[in-house]
Symmetry: C2
Subunit: 248 residues, 2 copies
């Protein structure tokens, strides 16, 4: 029995999210089946760093699992890629200590959100960005970002459906930048954990601040009211990427 | 009756090519239906600068058509985009003289081909590049490109199925460059016309030259033998873009 950590990228468009669901094409399902094929068993259970929703992408999702037998890291990388569909790429395979757990060992996660700023939807980016054609004042967003950072109760920013009781999370870093080459506005969030739909709700709220539909320091009020109805919008899944998961 | 020229981009992935075909989703079909909807007729015939195959993209396809009535250019642009699916974007709408014809008025066309060089297929580029992971010597390709330019009989580079008798075409410009940021090799071809699958066969042949599977000046022999079997490969549709059509 050998314990592995795999880092992978996927295009979330044609998956019903990361987590296994009956009769649905999921990232976890595809991975478990491929590992089963390699080991000649029906499937091998894998633990992911966390779920991503349908349509959400990953640049650096991490999974861990026990494999019956020992395959060198480079062979595991090559074998898994040969079994992957074209919308999943295994970036790295590592043999790790048995107590490593993709979810519980993680210290932080980094999400990226790409907002396309063109007047109309760019056909080549429709699956890989959210589209926001309205005027935006990035200085207003920059003024609001310090309110996003720090430790807060994010109840107003969690979609119902989550079962987690404690909705306090810490955001270490929240940034926005413009990419003139692609005419995109790009958000990044680095934190110790994120609630269901949290990044997409944060982005929608920040875009409302940037277009003067909401006061700059509305986050402070939203933390207090603890009411999902007040934050309203959820930015589309297509713009969201799990960029990186941090371990020691 | 007003005569229009429209410039458009599309993601070719989910189209059965440009040209109308019964029971298939085609770019021309979607455009003709949308114009018909605007004019309250079943459909309005449009002429394209040329066909693109299934999976081939366009950054600047051009169409022309007669519209019953007069709509200002800006309104035509907005109205058409509001009727387009997300994988087509109208970039420009112009009112042009009645004798303008998207195909017959064109002087030249520019095609671009993106080759992804990563070891494995990048999930986010799988629909937008061809993948070629083998060693490539770009200097060999650069040495072969002057043979591609000029006026030649391209019979060896035309897929069967075309009905055109005269297979002499002129390539004014053929270039290759590396993009280190994306790890891609990018070809561009500018010429007065291209046969069926011609760019994809040119690219496949150039890649064989770059990987030493074919002599550098094999083009000169291939022009002479006039035999499609000798050029063999066809690079995947996913890497090909109709970049621009030139008029006066």
């Amino acid at each position: 029995m050998t314990h592995y950590k795999l880092t992978l990228a996927y295009d979330g468009t044609n998956f019903a999210g990361y987590q296994v669901q009956p009769h649905q094409r999921t990232v976890q399902g595809v991975l478990q089946k491929a590992l089963g094929k390699m080991a000649k068993v029906p499937a091998i259970h894998v633990d992911g760093s966390g779920r991503t929703d349908s349509g959400v992408h990953a640049l650096g999702q991490v999974i861990s699992f026990d494999y019956p037998g020992m395959i060198p890291e480079e062979s595991m990388l090559r074998a898994m890629n040969s079994l992957m569909p074209l919308d999943i790429e295994i970036l790295k395979a590592e043999i790790v200590p048995a107590d490593f757990h993709a979810r519980y060992s993680a210290h932080g996660k980094r999400y990226l959100y790409r907002v396309a700023r063109g007047r109309f939807t760019n056909p080549f980016n429709r699956l890989y960005t959210g589209h926001y054609p309205y005027p935006l004042d990035l200085d207003l967003i920059r003024a609001a970002l310090p309110d996003v950072m720090g430790t807060h109760d994010f109840t107003s920013f969690a979609a119902s459906g989550g079962v987690i009781e404690n909705k306090v999370r810490t955001i270490y870093e929240a940034t926005v930048r413009e990419d003139p080459a692609t005419n995109e506005v790009i958000f990044e969030f680095y934190g110790n954990g994120f609630l269901y739909n949290m990044v997409r709700i944060l982005v929608a709220t920040l875009l409302e601040i940037g277009s003067r539909r909401r006061p700059v320091h509305d986050f402070l009020r939203l933390y207090t009211v603890k009411d999902r109805q007040q934050a309203r919008g959820t930015a589309p899944a297509s713009g969201l990427y799990l960029k990186e998961v941090d371990y020691d």
